[in-house]
């Protein structure tokens, strides 16, 4: 299963947060954004438990992430 994590960051931490996110093997995509959110990360996991593990033990510990908003992907369409 895939999920999208939208993050709001503190000041001057973007590079640090990106580097720490890139070290997590389940993260497949990281992008910096301009808009309400500062960062978008895509994560691929096997189960909700694994998603919880990564959140609780890795993403939640990254300093600089003020808040995050996670969405599970149910289906994708492309052309």
């Amino acid at each position: 299963m895939r999920a999208i994590i939208l993050c709001k960051l503190g000041i001057s931490v973007i590079n640090k947060v990106i580097n720490e996110l890139k070290e997590i093997p389940h993260i497949t995509k990281v992008m910096s954004l301009t808009g309400d959110y500062d960062l978008l990360a895509e994560i691929e996991v096997e189960s909700p438990e694994e998603l919880y593990e990564i959140f609780a033990n890795k993403i939640d510990l990254i300093e600089g992430i003020i808040s995050s908003n996670t969405h599970l992907i149910m289906k994708a369409w492309e052309k």
């Binding site: 910096s32 301009t34 808009g35 978008l40 908003n69 599970l72 149910m74 369409w77 052309k79």
Partner: protein, 439 residues
Amino acid sequence: MKLTNKYIFNLIIANLLWSFIPIVVSGLFDGISIITIIVLRFLTAGIILFLIAIFIALVNNYLNKDARIPLKEYIFNLRHKNRRFYDIRTYNYYFLIGFFGIILHIIFFFLALKTTSIPFTMIGALLTIIFIVFYEKGVNYEKFDIFRILFILMLSFAIIIIISVSFRGAQLNGKPIEPMGMIYLILYSITGSFLYISIERDSYSKNELRNINKTKYYKIPRALIKLSISFISGVIIMIPVLFLFLFMPFETDFTQETVHFFKDLLSLNSILFRWEILYLIIFATIIPYLLIFLANVNWKTTSLTYSQWNSILGLIEPTSTIIFAVLLSNAYFPHEYLIIVIIFLVIAVVLRYAHEVRNVINAYILLKIQKRSLSILPIKILKFYGIKEIYSLIGEFDLMVKVQVNSFKDFHYLINRKLKPLDEILEVEVQFVSKKEKF
């Protein structure tokens, strides 16, 4: 630099295969009418591409029982109105591409080759690129940044050198460049610009988008059928037009070529099996188009789109044509000037790349949508220009739309004219991508 998309090589190989066309056809001009060459190349290639399309669809249906390609959809789609091309029916769109973009384009290309020289004809390819740049500036308001201005300058320098060298070569060879040749060259560029602009403006119907999301292989037979219908219809439309030239009171190059074509009809079989014609059909039509469609279908959205890379690498064809003409068919072009032209064109490729990288807008649009619209809305909006992918989400937002466009005009059109007027969309939140991280 790690090349993330190996399908770029497909585009390079296709361009290299095309660049041998002038050398190969020049050997045919003495005995065979250009109309015969065109009829044999496009009719045969059209039929073979059509059969390959059916074969791919049948193999897919045999191997992937769950993701079958409904062949009748390709026929139904012909009546679908192309919203990106003046709302005309798809079959009319294919006919227009076939006649004006392919057949007339190649007729003028061959006539220019016949009446001038190989390097001189390549000016037409460079002019086509310049025309398209100005079209994009006028229609899409694509900005003229420093890269684009320098890009046009580099092409112009290359054109000036090719013109002066070609006229000098014509003087030395005693084979002057005919004034009509220059007119054919301009017509070749105009029809070429029409081809490159219109061929990108295809649109999928909702049913087709459903099929694409069942199997990505739906797109390959579709692209092959599009090309095959364009080829065959272009040839069929050309024949009555040729008759018109026969009955005109004045004689043109078309009249001579048409008379010659009717004479060639008697020995069509032996002409078809000449190696030059077989090269044109197999290596200059079937294989390159299969390569580029395969690239198009499997293109991974990296920093640039397929069409952007296509426009960057489009300069390979004229550059390598001139090189091959000098090396293989002894076209007059002093080596020092050849190196200068190559340097200008290589710089042009780099400038084009720099321009395209700066002019791509990536964004994610987060949508909150009305209840009961999740089953219809994604397919409805997926057909809008610029939308690449749609994710259905569980969370604060219902859909996330991945957008990639080349100008803010296109972006504004998508958001304000296409998405916001939809009743099913309650809230739109745009997030521009400022940087994609590499892994």
